[in-house]
Symmetry: C2
Amino acid sequence: MYALDKFHELIHQGIEDNPLIKSPNELYEPIDYILQIGGKRIRPVIVLLGTDLFDGDVKQAVKPSLAIEYFHNFSLMHDDIMDDAPLRRGKQTVHEKYNVNTAILSGDALLIKAYEALEDLEPALFKTVTKLFTKTALELCEGQQMDINFETQDDVTYDDYIQMISMKTGVLVAASLKIGALIAGASEKDADMIYNYGLNLGIAYQLKDDYLDVFGNLEHLGKKHAGDIFENKKTILYLSALEAANDKERKELLFWYGLKTDNVDKVYAIEKLFRKLNVHRTLATLIREYTNKAQAILNDIDVAEEKKGYLKELSEILIDRQG
Amino acid sequence: MYALDKFHELIHQGIEDNPLIKSPNELYEPIDYILQIGGKRIRPVIVLLGTDLFDGDVKQAVKPSLAIEYFHNFSLMHDDIMDDAPLRRGKQTVHEKYNVNTAILSGDALLIKAYEALEDLEPALFKTVTKLFTKTALELCEGQQMDINFETQDDVTYDDYIQMISMKTGVLVAASLKIGALIAGASEKDADMIYNYGLNLGIAYQLKDDYLDVFGNLEHLGKKHAGDIFENKKTILYLSALEAANDKERKELLFWYGLKTDNVDKVYAIEKLFRKLNVHRTLATLIREYTNKAQAILNDIDVAEEKKGYLKELSEILIDRQG
C-alpha cells in the first residue's frame, strides 16, 4: 500500500459524492461509464498533492480536482474516436460501446462539466484556476493536433516530439499540481516551480508510456499492444531508432512506417529493430534525465522534506510502472 | 439598414481584433473558416443588446460576447458531424472540407476559446458569467441529445418538443441577453426578466427555423432544403400534422417517417400533406404566441422605451425572416 492511497480514497469519495447520471440518460451514461471504468485517477490525486505540499486543506481541493479527471476523460473519449481505438483500460471505448455521435456529444458535456467542477472556488481563485485550466486545455488540443500532424510529417525532430508530449501530457500534470498549490494559497513563485516540476515529470511519464506501448507487460497494459507502431506514430522510439540505424536498417524502418496495415509482421519486424538498435536503453536514459530534472526542481522548493515524500512516491508510480 | 447594424459592426470589429489563427495551423484554420463563413453573428449582437438595454458600455461587452459566437460555432461543427450535414450557410461544413477528426478537435478548441473570451471580466463578474455560460452549454448538450432521442422515439409530445428547443436554442438567446445585462450591472430581477424574454424569443426563433426548413425560400436558406424531413426529425410540423391527420393521412405520415431515404418523393409527399393539414398556419400561430409572450415580458422591464427599440428590431429580424 502506498502512502498516497489516502488521497486516492478522497478522490474516490469525491467521485461518489458527485454523481454524473441525470436526464437525458443517453448523454450522461457514457460519461459515467468512462469514469467508472476508472483508470488510475492519478491526475486528481496530483492536484491534492499540490495542495498538501503547501499545507493546504486537501478536502477543499477534492471537487476542483475532479475538473482535471473530467477533462482527462473527455480527451480520452474524443482521442479514442480520432485514433479509432477499440479498447481503453481493457474495456470498450465509448464510441465502440455506444457510437461516434454519442462519444462526441457526451465528451463535449464532460468538458463543460470540468468547468462546472471549479465553481466552488471563491471568485478570485476561481478566475485564476479557470484561466490556467483553459490555457492548459488549449495546449492539450494543440498537442493532440501536433501528434496527428506527425503521422504524415517526415521531418519530425526530437525537439518537436518533446514539445508535442509536453503539450499533450506534461502541461496537464503541471497544471494539476499548480492548481493544487493555488488552492493552498502558495506564492506565485512556488506555484510556478511546482508547475515546472510537473512538466518534467509529465514528459518522463509520457516517454515511459511510449516505452511501455512496445516493451510493456501485456498483462498490465489494458490497451492494444504496440498501437503506436500500427498507427505509424513517430514516437521517441522511432526517432531514436532512425538516428541509430545504418542505411539498411533505416530503409527497413521507413518501409514499415510507410505502410498502413494491421499485419503483425510489421510489429515483429520493428520491435526486433528497436531492440537491435538499443532503443529501449536510449529511452530509459532519457526518462531518467527528465525525472532527475523534476527532482532537482523539487529539491529547490522550500517546504518541509517530509511533505515531499508523496511526490517522490508519485514519481515512482508514474515512472517505475510496468504497465 | 437596421439601427442595430452598429452593434453588428462592433462584433465584426471584435472578431477582426481577436484573430484565431495560430500554430498549429491545422487546429485553428478550421475555426477561422467557420467563423469567417460568418452567418448572421446575431448571438453576440444579442449580448450587446442586453448591455445596451441596461445602459452598460457595449464596448466592454464585445470580447465576452465572442464567447457566445465561439460556442455557437463550436456546436455547429459538432452537430454537423452528428447530422452528417454537407452544407452550412451554403458552404461546405468543416468535416466535409477537412475531415471528421479535424471537426471534432477544432470544435473542442473552439469551445475552450469561448471560455477564454470571458477572461477580461473582473473576478466576481467573471465567475457569475462563466457559471451561467457553463449551465447554458450543458443545457445545449442536453437539448441536442433530446433532439437525437426524438428520432427514434414514438411518443414525442408538443411539450417535449418545446422543452427540447428551449434547451437547444432558447437558453442561448436567453443567456446571451442575461450576460449582456450582467455586464451592464443590471439587478438580478432585471437580468432574470431579460433571460425569460430571450427564452421565449428563442423558442419562437427555432419554430421559425423549423418552418423555414420546409416552407422557406430556398435562395435564402443556405442549407439543405427539408433536411429535417430527410432525417425524420419530429419537429413541431410533424407533431401538428400528426394531430390534425385522419387515419389515412396519419398512416401516410408514419410510413414516410419510418423510412431512411434520400428519395425526394418523400419530401414532396410530406410537404403536400403538411399544406393540406394547414401545418404552416398552426405553426405561424404558435410562433406569434411565443413572440407575444416575449413582448409582454419586455413591456414589464423598467427601462426607457427607446432602449427597447433595438429588441423590437431584433424580434423582427429573428421572426419575420424568410430564410
